[in-house]
């Protein structure tokens, strides 16, 4: 089941060739597989995002490898160079086979 994800481009207005920061958040529990459920005493099975890929205009520009040591609802922020008008797609994959995709448009003005 795809999770809820959000991508923001900072600052809001930018020119062609500017460096813009991309802030992304996805709602995910990131269970490490080490924590016990206090009521039942059973270990909560591991379920965390291990791969994140960023595509800009169809080209893979950045990838991340995550482990259970990243906080719940993983937040990732990085820079890109806004040198063309193209969609920016992020793909999150977790170890149970869930894939979430989210796309924003990079539209440099001026």
């Amino acid at each position: 089941m795809p999770k809820i994800a959000m991508i923001k481009v900072r600052p809001r207005r930018y020119k062609k060739g500017d460096l813009v920061r991309i802030d992304s958040v996805i709602m995910h529990p990131m269970n490490t597989g080490l924590v016990k459920n206090k009521k039942t005493g059973k270990i909560i099975p591991a379920d965390y995002i291990d791969t994140v890929e960023v595509y800009y205009g169809g080209e893979k520009i950045t990838s991340f490898k995550l482990t259970g040591s990243v906080s719940a609802n993983p937040f990732l922020s990085f820079y890109i160079k806004a040198d063309k008008e193209a969609p920016l797609k992020m793909v999150w994959k977790d170890i149970t086979g869930d894939v979430t995709e989210k796309t924003v448009k990079i539209k440099p003005k001026g």
Binding site: L19, R21, D23, T32, G33, L34, V35, K36, A46, Y56, E59, K60, I61, T62, S63, F64, K65, L66, T67, G68, S69, V70, S71, A72, P74, F75, L76, S77, F78, Y79, I80, K81
Partner: protein
Amino acid sequence: MNRRGFLKSVALTGAVIAVSPKFMPAGEANAKPQKMSYEEAVKKVLGVDVSKLEESSEIKLTAPSIAENGAVVPVKVEVKQPIENVESIHIFAKKNFNPHTLSMFLSPANGKAYLGTRIRLAKTMPVVAVAVLKDGRIIKTEKPIKVTIGGCG
């Protein structure tokens, strides 16, 4: 079935029954995640020894020195090198169950070697940021973070 064959099969079955309970728990233990040391994690992720990492001021790690809640510790890493020269950024939390926290692989389209994220820390420990450069150097910086409440359960 002759006597020899019968004895052989009985002995074999007995051996299997006697041995199998001993092996079973070991097999289960192997399926569980294994605790790793910082040195092992660096070796596994970067493929080099810890002593090859070079302390440098070209990489900057921004994090609070006291973290109230170990489950959410904001961390920023910046490499003061041209983007063409930076290949990847890694974060290690030395005393976590799995010290390897995150790896980021960059390309020139990033424009700037920067990474912001939030990590979990089980207890008070140093956090290490590592950058692999294209000229073959591996630079690192370290910052101790005091954790009041642990975050890895």
